[in-house]
Every structure is written in C-alpha cells, then in structure tokens.
C-alpha cells in the first residue's frame, strides 16, 4: 500500500519535475517563459495522438518532445528576435497552446489511451522496495531523474553551463565578451520546450493515460513556481516536485477515503500550497534578489 502510494507520488511528480527543470535552464539563461502550460498541453495532445495512431507510445513521447520544442520556438522568435515582452508572450503561448490542443484533440476525447510500458532495469528492479520504486518505472521517469542530475552537472561543472549562467546574469557583459547571447537563449528555450513537451506526454501516456481537454490543469504554472521555490537549483527542483507530487496524491487519497472534507477543497490544496510556498520563499527579499538570474525577463538587443 505504502509502496503504491510512493509510486503514484513519483508519477505525479515526474511531469512537474520535467517541466520545471526545463524552465530552470531557460530562466538561468535570463529568459522567462510563462508558456510552460501551453507547451505542456501541446506535448500531451501530440503524445497521445501519435501514440494512438501509430500504436507506439515511444513515438508519441518523441513527437511530444519535438512539438514542445517547435512550439517554444515561436516564443523564442518573438521574445529573442523581435524583443517582445516576455511575460505577455508567454501568456500568449499558453493561451494558444490551450486553444490549439483543444482543437487538435477533439477527436481523441474518450478514446482509450496507449500506456507507456514500464521498463524494468535488470536485477536492480528485483531489489526490495527500491526495486519497484526506482528501477521498475516508465522511461520518462528515468529521463526526468537523469535530466535533473545532468542539468545540475551541466550548469555548475561545465564551461557551457558557466556561459549559460553568465548570459542570465548580465547579457550586456556577455555580449561584450563575444558570447552569442541570443543563440544561447534560443537553445535554452528549445530545451525548455522539449522538456515541457515530454512532461505533457507523461500526463497523457502514463499518468492518466487519456486525452482530456485542459488536462494539464495548471501543472505548467506550478512548475514555474517550483523554479522559484528551488531558487534556480536543479536538485531543489527535484525535492520540490516530489513534495508537490505528495500533496496532490495525498489529497486524492483523502478524497477516496471520504473523510468529510469537500473534495473541491482537497482539489484546491495543490494550488493553495503553491501560493503558500511562494510566499514563504519570496518573503526574504535579499535572498530572492541574490538567487534570481539578474537578467531574467529583461529585453536584449545586441548592437552590431
């Protein structure tokens, strides 16, 4: 029972983790992409649709990654090339994603989903408890954990990561040193889009697995909050995502038990928790100021 709960927690946490880790890289490069929700839902509908038509959920996940990245390219072109307001453009991306996915997915509603199978890691999956928890999961779970570690390593132990952080700290300085600010940001945004796309695919191929309109239900926004919560540090995103996973699973179980609290109040818990956590983390202005990438959300036009 306990094991099963932990498993569902990790299922709820994985899409949050993926989307947040992608957004973390984007924000570390100094770009604020509020379109996570939109990219995620596009990933969800694409993943579901491709899996349904080909019968192959892996192809679905792959397609979700590609569509997520392409969709983020739209954002990148507007904010980086045309220097539009990042907040407004991110909102536009979310609104467009929600609209487009509803249109694309209309015929998928009510169709039986194709679930991404578990992949057992040989030998390790037979270990007690951790075997089922960690080594007998779906591919996207492994990817999410791997990406978290990889991003942490990339950001803090590689030259390319250092360059990315420098762009997020001060794009004018970076430009003066000859660092290709715009190019790096394009790549970061594409990475964020790919992650969000895959996160969406996890919802429609593993977690639910079905297509429901607006099925992301604010998870993209929670992922954005997680990045703030984690002070832009990958391993803290991991912790945060599992914490939120636990909250949302906890409330589901409480609903199932029927403990007399209205189900709507329980459903509201993850959203309220997000606000509470944001308040707690951001009330220390100094700390927030030190942690936030200094160029975050600022427009940049290189002079040539």
């Amino acid at each position: 029972m306990f094991e099963a709960i932990l498993l569902t927690v990790s299922m709820a946490a994985t899409p949050l983790l993926l989307a947040a880790i992608g957004e973390l890289v984007v924000e570390r490069s100094g770009v604020l992409n509020l379109g996570v929700e939109g990219m995620m839902i596009m990933g969800a509908v694409t993943g579901f649709g491709v899996a349904l038509t080909t019968g192959n959920p892996f192809l679905g996940a792959l397609a979700a990654i590609i569509v997520g990245a392409l969709f983020s390219l739209l954002f990148a072109f507007l904010t980086l090339t045309l220097v539009t307001n990042q907040v407004a453009t991110g909102l536009a991306l979310t609104l467009l994603g929600l609209g487009l996915s509803g249109m694309i997915g209309e015929s998928f509603v009510g169709q039986p989903g194709v679930r991404l199978q578990r992949l057992d890691v040989p030998f390790l999956s037979e270990l007690p408890i951790v075997g089922r928890l960690i080594f007998s999961q779906d591919l996207i779970f492994y990817v999410s954990v791997f990406l978290t570690v990889a991003v942490a390593w990339f950001l803090f132990y590689t030259k390319a990561g250092l360059t990315l952080r420098s762009v997020g700290d001060n794009h004018a300085s970076a430009h003066a040193l000859g660092i290709k600010v715009i190019r790096i940001r394009y790549m970061a945004v594409l990475f964020g889009g790919a992650c969000a796309g895959l996160a969406g695919a996890h919802l429609s191929l593993v977690y639910v697995p079905q297509w429901v309109e607006n099925m992301t239900a604010g998870r993209g926004w929670i992922a954005l909050a997680l990045v703030v919560f984690a002070s832009w540090r990958p391993l803290r995103v991991l912790a945060g995502a599992y914490l939120f996973g636990a909250v949302s699973i906890g409330q589901l179980h409480a609903q199932a038990l029927g403990i007399g609290i209205p189900s709507q109040l329980l459903s509201a818990l993850p959203y309220i928790a997000t606000i509470v956590v944001l308040v707690l983390i951001s009330r220390n202005r100094r700390l927030t100021m030190v942690n936030t990438p200094a160029s975050l959300g600022r427009p940049f036009v290189p002079d040539r």
């Binding site: 030259k159 250092l162 360059t163 952080r165 420098s166 700290d169 001060n170 004018a172 300085s173 970076a174 430009h175 003066a176 040193l177 000859g178 660092i179 202005r285 100094r286 100021m289 030190v290 990438p293 200094a294 002079d303 040539r304």
Partner: protein
C-alpha cells in the same frame, strides 16, 4: 603627422578609413590609427566623439561599415571578440564586463576560449596577480568586490590571454589618484615588456604623463595626432573640443552675511537595502546658503544610498536627521521635501531622473506635479498639458537643449542635452537646496561647463548646492569645500583653499579615522 610615426611595416596595428554608421549618424568617419610596438597610445576625445565605437570595432564587438585593419602588416577581419583575443588584442572595459553572480575565476574563464579547468585558471590568475602586484582572490564573488578590485579582475583577465595590444577604456575614472598611480606603474611595466597599449581617456593630465603619442577624435573624425608630452592640457582640450572651452567662474561667496545652513544632515545611518548596497554610517554635514559643497569618492562607497536618503526616496528613522531650510524632513517623502524647497538630480538620467519613453514635457511634470500643482493641474487631478509644454519650452531655451523634435521622448536626446534639461527642470523652480549626483557624467565639455556654471550661479544667488561626483577636477572647479565619502562614511569638509588632490585622494582610499585603505578590510565590515 609627425616624424615619430612608425612606418606601416613595423606598426603593430594599422587602421585605415574605418567607418561605422548608427542609422544616419556616422559614429566613426574614415578613421586612421596606427599603433607601434611598445608604445602607450592615447585615444582622446569627448563623450560621443566615437572612441568607444572605434575600440569596439578593434575588439570585434562591432562590425565596421567600411575600412581596413592591418595587424602586424597583414589585413585582418575581426568578426568577434574571440578572434580579437586570438590575434592578441585584449580589452579592459570602462563599464566592466563582469558578472556579479560569478566568482573572479569564473569571470576570467569566460573569456578564455578553450576548456581550461577552473582551478588551473584560478592558479594562473593568482600567479599573475602576484607578478604585477594586483592582489586578487580568485574565488571571491564579484558582487562583493569594490570597483578597484573589479578593475583588477578585468586587467588580469586581459593579461592572462597574453595580449600584444591592450585596450583600456577610461580606466582611471573609477580609481582614487593613488590607485591610478599604481595602475600607471603596471602600464609602464607592460610597456617595458614590449606590449602596446591603447589608452582611452579624457583626463588630459594623465595622458600627458604616460602616453607616447595621441590620436584625437572629434565627431567621429580624426582631427589630430600629437605627442602629448609636448602639449599643454589646454592645447589638448582645444583639439578635443574644437574651440576654447569656457572656464567656469567662481568668485568668493557673495552673500557672506546670510550664511544660514539650508541643508543639514545629522548622524545619518542606514542599513544596506539590498545585498549589493553599502551601509551609511553616522553621516553629518551642513551646506550653507551661497555655498557649493562637493562630495568626492570612488563609485560604490555609498553615494547613491546617501542621495536616496537625502532626497527622501528612502526615509529616515528620525525626523531631525535631515533638515531643509530648517524644516525637519527626515520622515517626509521626496515630494514633501521638494515642497520645502529642495531639488534633486540623480546619477542615472534614463530610468531614474527621467522616464525614457516619456516626452520632455511629461518628464517636467514628473518632478514638479506637487510643487507646481496650482499651475499644472486642474480640477479632479486633470493635467494641463499646454502649460506644461510651455514650461518645457522655456527650460529648453534657457539651458540650450538641442533636440530633434518639438517634444521628443527623453531617450531620444543625447546624454548632455538630457542632463541639461533635467538640471534646468529643477533650476527653473529656483530651489533653496539643490542636491546633484554626478552632474556631468558622460556629458560633453560644452554642456558640462554650462551645467557647472548654472549650479555655481544658483549657489551665488543664495541657495545651498550639494554636488556628489567622482570627477575630482569637477569638484575642485566648482566647490567651496570638499568632503570625501568612503565606505559609507563622510569626512569633514576641507575648505577649497586647503584641499589638494593628494589629500582628497588619500581620503578616497580610506585613509581616515583608523580605516586603512585595504580592500580586504572593507570586506570584513
């Protein structure tokens, strides 16, 4: 050109006909420049003369529209800073190109174009810093460092690439005179090692002192070459500006009889508001009617924080901490302090003193909607735009503000013209107290002279003027007394008759009240 010009073949760098356009403006117009090996070459010119544009092209961060660059006799195209570095050109930027959130070593690593491990870079940086006597901790975060220390990182970063030509853009503008002396020693030493230096400055005395040759730019064009050691500061200034710059006249205070203190600051202390700001400690100062008091200091020693506290952008705990014309204003906001007769001009023009995307008339209204409410506002908070526009025209005329449109946006004006407008906006009120932070930063000589004269005239008419500046020449030219700000503390004012560069410079370095001028000591506080 004089005969000391080395011939093409032995020149390290030869630039011919370099041109760069921004829109319809020719920032650099057919510029020729030749730098020999082992020489310190000055590039002189006013703000906006095209110096920065020229060196950015040499360092590959701007693309020339036309012209050629020869490096050691070979034609080259410098398309990026990385290419410039590969050729052997290094640059120390004016507004540092550093990253505050990163360590010194990481900052250095970013301009090294291979994948040298960070520990190795730190070690090399440490060795180099010992060799040249530029103390540096590679693992300190830049955000915590003083301006002088930051410049050291820039210089070491540049030297690590073993450049043959080092470009320094206004390096002494952030240093105390003593720190500048140290820098000149380093430069002489580099010259002795056969390196060439392109030294950009508008400080003529130091150019005369260390440079072998000079190229003078005006309005994007080369107007002269000379040997600065053969010239006087006045003749150099004439070359730069093109005409005699009017000297500011400052006679003895006229209203010696009425010598009331109009601005009084009493034991002002302030905790740092952000992780990057300086704490103010126990600052007391009085500015009297008819007086210009200058506050000198290296950037980042609390001047901005002090300005905010005096202007009322930041409130004090006690009302008596700040007095304007005798009124206790420590608990009052900036609008109330203005109503008591004070006027303020901050350091940043765009985004602080003026809203960039707003028109001049709107920017006039910005600081005067309270003091001139009766004039500029109608019933129910409506704005009387025509009256404000008329007042804006009046100020434009009085201060000779040059502009391209009837009522342009603030960002469309040059730095000097916008500053004239901002100063004029406050002068137009005839304030009893005027507090100005960096009155002529980045302003051309003509506008600067006009601004300084206007401030002196205001004082002579019976107002108290407080000028905060990093430009010692400016302070010596304008002030009746100079106080020095260091690490959030303010020295007692020195009457101008007793003030020397040496004395003020020592105070700027922190040689006061048991504060040794060691940067490490600063960190401990």
């Amino acid at each position: 050109m004089d005969q000391s010009d080395p011939s093409q073949t032995e020149a390290l760098l030869a630039v011919r006909g370099l041109t760069k356009m921004f829109g319809s403006l020719k920032a650099c117009d057919n510029v020729d420049l030749t730098i020999g090996r082992g020489e310190i070459h000055a590039l002189l010119g006013e703000n906006g003369a095209g110096k920065s544009t020229l060196v950015k092209m040499l360092f590959g961060s701007l693309e020339p529209a036309s012209g050629t660059i020869h490096w050691k006799g070979e034609p080259v195209r410098i398309a990026s800073p990385a290419q410039a570095r590969a050729l052997g050109i290094g640059m120390v930027f004016q507004h540092f190109s550093l990253f505050e959130a990163l360590t010194a070593a990481e900052n250095i690593a970013l301009s090294i174009d291979d994948d040298t491990p960070i520990m190795k870079i730190a070690e090399r940086a440490r060795n180099l810093s010992k060799t040249y006597g530029l103390p540096l901790d590679p693992f300190s975060h830049v955000g915590d460092l003083s301006v002088g220390e930051r410049q050291r990182i820039e210089i070491i970063r540049c030297l690590l690439q073993e450049p043959e030509l080092i470009i320094l853009d206004e390096p002494t503008s952030v240093l105390t005179p003593q720190e500048a002396d140290k820098l000149f020693e380093t430069l002489e030493r580099l010259k002795g090692e056969g390196k060439s230096i392109l030294y950009i400055s508008h400080r003529l005395e130091e150019v005369k002192r260390i440079c072998d040759r000079a190229t003078v730019l005006r309005h994007g064009k080369v107007v002269d070459h000379c040997d600065p050691k053969q010239e006087t500061a006045a003749s150099l200034a004439r070359m730069m500006v093109g005409l005699e710059v009017q000297n500011v006249t400052r006679d003895v205070p006229a209203s010696a009889s009425d010598h009331r203190p109009l601005l009084e600051v009493d034991r002002l202390s302030r905790k740092p508001a952000t992780p990057f700001s300086v704490a103010l400690r126990d600052i007391s100062v009085k500015v009297h009617a008819g007086e210009v008091l200058g506050i000198a200091g290296v950037a980042g020693n609390g001047q901005g924080e002090f300005f905010e506290a005096v202007s009322g952008e930041a409130l004090q705990d006690r009302a008596e901490t700040v007095r304007v014309s005798g009124h206790l204003v420590g608990r009052l906001g900036i609008s109330q302090r203005r109503l008591k007769g004070a006027a303020f001009v901050p350091e940043e023009r765009l985004g602080h003193g003026a809203a960039p995307a707003m028109r001049l008339s709107e920017n006039l209204f910005l600081t005067r909607y309270r003091t001139d409410a009766r004039e500029y506002m109608g019933a129910a908070g409506t704005i009387r735009t025509s009256r404000i526009a008329a007042a804006a025209r009046r100020i434009v005329e009085a201060m000779d503000v040059r502009k391209s449109a009837e009522d342009p946006e603030a960002s469309a004006l040059s730095g000097g013209n916008l500053q004239k407008f901002i100063i004029g906006r406050e002068l137009d009120r005839e304030p009893k107290v005027m507090v100005v932070n960096q009155p002529t930063w980045g302003v051309d000589a003509g506008a600067a002279a006009r601004i300084r004269q206007a401030l002196i005239d205001l004082a002579r008419s019976g107002s108290a003027v407080l000028v905060i500046s990093q430009d010692l020449d400016e302070l010596f030219e304008m002030s009746d007394a100079i106080a020095v700000m260091h690490d959030g503390q303010l020295s007692a004012p020195i009457p101008i008759s007793e003030a020397t560069y040496e004395k003020v410079g020592l105070l700027m370095g922190g040689a006061d009240a048991g504060h040794p001028p060691s940067p490490l000591e600063e960190e401990a506080v």
